[in-house]
């Protein structure tokens, strides 16, 4: 079930990732033929990013574990692709700006989910106390 969902999301991610690269290539007025490898890589990146989002649906996993796992998968792929394709070097500040932005986005994702669930749990406890005190 999880693998099926991951595959479907991965396929959608591949199309989205490839489409984004195609748009960027066209905006840069470059021929698409020469950008084939970049389009495929963009697709793979989208597939992994979206496909691996199923970790958020693993019931036993906490928000922190799911967020950290997704971040590590996406970051590892980003690191491999960027270095192997020669898009950036480690000394390039843009590489580290992107890493910083990724970390910030993932912390924000965790924080929003954490605060949202914490508020809901507080409300549930309040209702439980009201109900129990009304019946004691």
């Amino acid at each position: 079930m999880l693998w099926k969902k991951a595959t479907l999301l991965g396929l959608a991610g591949f199309v989205i990732g490839a489409a984004i690269v195609i748009c960027l290539v066209l905006l840069d007025s470059q021929p698409l033929q020469g950008a084939f490898a970049h389009i495929v890589i963009g697709g793979i990146y989208g597939a992994v990013a979206m496909g691996s989002s199923v970790v958020y649906g693993i019931e036993k996993w906490s928000i922190a574990r799911a967020t950290a796992t997704h971040f590590l998968l996406v970051f590892a792929l980003y690191f491999l692709l960027v270095i192997s394709m020669g898009w950036f070097r480690l000394s390039d500040p843009v590489f580290w700006i992107v890493v910083g932005a990724m970390v910030a986005v993932y912390i924000l994702i965790w924080l929003i989910q954490y605060l949202s669930y914490r508020r809901q749990i507080r409300e549930m406890n309040d209702e439980l106390i009201k109900w129990k005190s009304g019946n004691s």
Binding site: G57, E59, K60, S62, I63, A64, R65, W110, Q113, Y114, Y117, R118, Q120, I121, E123, M124, N125, E127, L128, K130, W131, G134, N135, S136
Partner: protein, 160 residues
């Protein structure tokens, strides 16, 4: 017989289904027993649940069940500190259990919402449920909304 329960029947043409009101100064074990007895004879659509312990079969009142869960591919039913085994699937049990009392809290577990003492949310983001008997389990986040709605329904109706 000591302290016999006074029973009054009030005929009300507006009331098509019988309504039972228990007037008491405090909720004692005796009151609990009366509620249990009424429930047992009125909730015929929610049967007793068959549980096995030490290869002996017991019929479990739904009211007494704290939770039912899957562990090592077996369905277990908790009644206080006692753990029974069931030869039915969790989905089958879910169909037999009273939906006003039991709710799914994960793919592997159903809990008696009236036996929940509190909810806890850990820093890492796991939802824990503590029951009146002191036992603790976790709930899947995707069921939190449903649990919240069930609690709101009970609170609004001030049932039991």
């Amino acid at each position: 017989m000591k302290n016999p329960v006074e029973i009054k029947i009030q005929i009300d043409p507006q009331c098509h289904d019988p309504v039972i009101l228990i007037r008491t100064d405090q909720k004692t074990q005796r009151v609990e027993d009366i509620v249990h007895a009424i429930e047992t004879c009125t909730n015929s659509s929610y049967p007793l649940i068959v549980g096995y312990r030490d290869s002996e079969m017991e019929l479990l009142s739904q009211r007494d069940i704290t939770r039912a869960y899957v562990e090592a591919r077996k369905v277990r039913i908790c009644v206080g500190k006692e753990v029974y085994e069931s030869n039915k699937s969790l989905s089958f049990l879910e169909q037999q259990l009273n939906p006003d009392r039991f709710i799914r809290i994960s793919r592997f577990e159903i809990a008696n919402i009236r036996k929940i003492a509190s909810f806890d949310f850990s820093t890492t983001g796991t939802v824990y449920i503590r029951f009146d008997d002191g036992s603790i389990t976790w709930a899947a986040r995707r069921y939190v909304r449903a649990i919240h709605q069930a609690l709101s329904r009970i609170e609004a109706g001030k049932e039991e």
